[in-house]
């Protein structure tokens, strides 16, 4: 079991000079924090922070997914070494959320193996939930019954969902990146800035 000690913050209610935090098995905590935001902290007994991270990060991710009509999380390829992966580089950031982003990778694997994506449904999910967009021209009929040809299904999503496709992408990317901070916190504890009073006392004691 690993523990770490951090100084109490300037605005804390406690009277102690430091707080001892039990990190448990740091690697396990970090892995759990990646799989489900906040789970690593719950494992360590840091329940308040764990619930805060769970609500904030998963809430941001799910809200972004909702804004984007369920289309903003998908993987263009199954390997980061593949150039096509970087066509949707945002998935690299969204993957920081862990399990919630795995369906997109599973869909990409199926498409790569020339199989039909899973979880097909009506209209928006006719190509599968979190499935990559299909290439090729796609007709689009707008509210005025005018028909245009979009160069790809991705272009169709951008046009039909504007501006929510971009908004949803931003939300889900930021959620993934925030979870990287959470993973570091689960692994090594918070990055605490020394309280301001301690800095002043040190300067007073050593004016040189």
């Amino acid at each position: 079991m690993v523990t770490t000690t951090i100084p109490t913050a300037e605005h804390s209610a406690g009277q102690h000079d430091s707080i001892e935090i039990e990190l448990g098995q740091p690697w396990l905590a970090a892995l759990l924090a990646w799989l489900v935001p906040g789970l690593g902290h719950l494992y360590q007994g840091r329940t308040g922070k764990g619930l805060l991270f769970l609500v904030c990060i998963l809430g941001t991710f799910l809200y972004g997914l909702y804004l984007g009509g369920g289309k903003v999380v998908y993987a263009s390829s199954t390997s980061v070494l593949d150039r096509n992966f970087w066509d949707r580089w945002q998935y690299g950031c969204q993957a920081g959320v862990g399990l919630a982003s795995w369906p997109a990778y599973l869909q990409a694997v199926r498409v790569k193996n020339h199989k039909e994506p899973m979880w097909k449904g009506e209209e928006w999910f006719d190509n599968g939930f979190m499935a990559p967009p299909r290439p090729g021209n796609v007709p689009l009929e707008d509210a005025s019954k005018n028909t245009s040809i979009q160069p790809s299904e991705l272009a169709l999503w951008n046009v039909k969902l504007h501006p929510y496709f971009e908004l949803g992408t931003v939300y889900t990317v930021i959620a993934g990146l925030l979870n990287l901070l959470v993973i570091c916190d689960a692994f090594a504890g918070p990055l605490v800035i020394a309280p301001h009073d301690d800095k002043k006392n040190k300067q007073n004691k050593d004016p040189a």
Binding site: A9, H11, C56, I57, T60, P163, L178, L181, V192
Partner: protein, 73 residues
């Protein structure tokens, strides 16, 4: 320039619905960043509030710079 700033920029900006989508993001980012720097709930909330205000101030500065460039153009 200041007299033209409000109707030409600020009111349309505040009326633009897309700008308000930044609010949940600011709250979420502030809380998470603060929680990775503190351990107790009181300092977390205090740090989050300061961080959120800093983000809004930075966005306001960028908007001001864009308005200035638009005016100069």
């Amino acid at each position: 320039m200041l007299a033209s700033l409000a109707p030409n920029l600020l009111i349309p900006l505040l009326a633009t619905m897309s700008m308000w989508y930044a609010l949940p993001l600011i709250v979420s980012v502030s809380l998470v960043c603060a929680a990775t720097r503190q351990e107790q709930i009181g300092p977390i909330l205090h740090h989050a509030l300061r961080f959120g205000i800093w983000i809004v101030a930075f966005m306001a500065i960028v908007v001001g710079l864009l308005a200035l460039m638009n005016w100069m153009a």
